[in-house]
């Protein structure tokens, strides 16, 4: 059986850094950027442990601004 892998794409300029996705992620994949801010001056969500992502879409569902797109694929090994 292949392993399910996920990946997220964050619309960083739309992100307001509320960190609701950071809390919602069951695998602690997401954190707020610590050195960079977006055009509006907000720290934004970054996948800091992208290999742990399972594509559950929790982050996308809780995001109030709809910044996160979630992809999921079954990897054949």
């Amino acid at each position: 059986m292949g392993k399910i892998k996920g990946s997220i794409v964050v619309n960083t300029d739309r992100c307001k850094g509320c960190s609701l996705c950071v809390v919602a992620c069951p695998k602690d994949v997401i954190a707020l950027s610590d050195k960079h801010v977006n055009v509006n001056g907000y720290p934004y969500a970054v996948a800091v442990r992208p290999d742990d992502c399972i594509g559950c879409a929790s982050c996308g569902i809780v995001c109030p601004d709809g910044c996160i797109s979630v992809y999921k694929k079954r990897m054949e090994d």
């Binding site: 619309n11 307001k16 609701l20 569902i61 109030p64």
Partner: protein, 255 residues
Amino acid sequence: MKEDIIAPENLVYEKPSLMNDTPMHYCPGCSHGVVHKLVAEVIEEMGMQDKAVGVSPVGCSVFAYRYIDIDWSEAAHGRAPAVATGIKRCWPDRLVFTYQGDGDLACIGTAETIHALNRGENITIIFINNAIYGMTGGQMAPTTLLGQKTVTCPYGRTPELHGYPLKMTEIAATLQGTCYVTRQSVDTVAAIRSAKKAIRKAFEASMQGKGSSLVEITSTCNSGWKLSPVKANEWLREKMFEFYPKGDLKNTIDE
């Protein structure tokens, strides 16, 4: 390997296509954004893009019409259910809903809300209850909890001075015209899924002519509550659910 996963056929979640790219004016972490997404998703899934008419209120969500690409009408403060009544009666094949906050629905618009629900107009009212006046800077609302501190009751709400919090949803459940009255929240993934189902059920009931529906969403106002978005969700679970318990209060759709 990441490039393999990010492909259109592997997409499992994205911003609903009815929600446009206009940056939302809401504070970071505001529940309004989540509810906007749910409304857009439900309308999209029902295939009602061309037949949905929303009525936006006065309050934080006054600009709701900027973000979801359907027809909208802006109502005077509190009068959204009256405007929605007119639209639905002229255009019975349209999906008509109002989107109102607690200052709009439970304070200045109490009369319109109760009468529209009691007449059994085939509309859905989405009621965002965050227990505070968010837009004007965090004043006490009719729905503010006892003991809750706001800028106009800095020592906490007391019944002797400020009266008791108003449970509009409980009142709506006693009215004969309503077919579906429920209280939901959007603080967790499970709660968001449940809220989406409730909105869909209410929209479908309004299209089937079963009466009016009220979907209350207990929400956070982290700016008004002076908490971080994450802490605001915790406060919501700790304090709000005690006084505003979640669940269906009335459901005559399935009978």
